[in-house]
């Protein structure tokens, strides 16, 4: 969507035009769902998080300033919503690891390997601390530049480096352990 069109839609939506907001939702819903999926690792959770994020966006749209892109602002809302969701549903726990293992066993042999890998990494990342998960998902899984990650998470460059370092180390270990355990169960 061209930036001018998006600005106009935001202006109209702030004035209460629900049709303009609908257009914004239709434009960004795929993106919001994909980001939410990377934070939660579950389709249903991702849908809930994306939906709640749009409701929050509608409520806070009057606070939006066009100094940042709408997508950047959406990243922040989705990320915080995902953390709230994971906290409230008590999903940020080690028992998520069991779900990952079950999923791997069930879908063994299915050709969507990369989708499986994405699901596995996303679910494993929910066992990180929120600060570590946020930089890991945004930098490594979404491919954002450190400056953007800083704007979205509110962490400075040093914090980003520190959290990314621990997140990558932890994730590498978790993934290796996960594959080893899955291999053991299969044999």
């Amino acid at each position: 969507m061209p930036p001018d069109r998006e600005s106009e839609l935001i202006r109209r939506a702030v004035a209460g035009d629900t049709r303009a907001f609908r257009e914004l939702v239709e434009t960004h819903q795929q993106f919001a769902y994909a980001v939410a999926f990377r934070f939660t690792g579950h389709r249903d959770d991702a849908k809930d998080v994306a939906q709640e994020a749009f409701v929050k966006l509608w409520k806070n749209l009057n606070r939006y300033r066009d100094t940042v892109k709408l997508s950047t602002w959406l990243y922040t809302i989705i990320m915080n919503q995902a953390f709230d969701h994971l906290k409230s549903s008590h999903r940020r726990a080690s028992n998520r690891m069991e779900e990952v293992q079950d999923k791997t066993i069930l879908s063994d042999g299915v050709e969507h390997e990369r989708l499986e890998l994405l699901e596995t990494i996303s679910r494993l990342s929910t066992t990180l601390t929120p600060k570590q998960q946020s930089v890991f998902v945004l930098r490594d899984m979404e491919g954002l530049e450190p400056d953007e990650v800083s704007v979205i998470t509110g962490q400075d460059a040093t914090q980003i480096k520190s959290n990314l370092y621990y997140a990558r180390q932890a994730m590498r270990e978790k993934l290796e352990r996960h594959y080893q355990e899955a291999k053991t169960i299969r044999t």
């Binding site: 389709r43 509608w58 590498r172």
Partner: protein, 164 residues
């Protein structure tokens, strides 16, 4: 730089500055242990990066949009609040009408004297005073009685006259 200082940099290789990358590259060429760590880190990062292109499509997109729009719509008024609003509207309308009548009563110009019609509504102070003058005194009037003193036009006229 020794291995202890290089290891964290290996993990953050993609976001390092040029000078730090050079240091890592130089160290890794001469240290097999750090080289292995770097290969492992690189393999893991490649795996993660490969998931970026995976598109996770939103199922039932139209329904999703509908659900979002339904969530942001204001809740419909309940029957109670509707009648509550009507009651308040009626109260406000009555008060406005009373205010207008009082305004008419107080601010009617002196020249605007009308002969009151029997049974009609007296809308101005001057008209009301004129009507009092035209009335014949009531034979049964007892202005000592507190009720009649307030309500009987003859007593009221006497009261105004005494004031003058």
């Amino acid at each position: 730089m020794n291995c202890e200082k290089i290891r964290p940099l290996i993990e953050l290789y993609d976001i390092l500055g040029e000078s730090e990358r050079d240091s890592v590259d130089r160290h890794v060429q001469s240290c097999t242990a750090c080289k292995a760590v770097m290969q492992s880190a690189h393999a893991f990062r490649s795996q993660v990066i490969s998931t970026r292109s995976v598109s996770v499509s939103l199922p039932h997109a139209a329904q999703f949009t509908g659900d979002v729009m339904a969530s942001i719509q204001p809740a419909p008024r309940s029957g109670f609040s509707f009648w509550f609003a009507i009651r308040w509207s009626a109260t406000v309308a009555s008060m406005v009408l009373i205010g207008l009548l009082a305004f008419e009563w107080m601010d009617a110009p002196a020249a605007q004297i009308h002969t009151p019609v029997a049974g009609g509504i007296v809308l101005s102070r001057t008209t009301f005073a004129a009507s009092l003058q035209q009335r014949t005194p009531h034979t049964m009037t007892d202005c000592a009685d507190p009720l009649q003193r307030r309500l009987d036009p003859v007593c009221i006229r006497q009261h105004f006259h005494n004031l003058k």
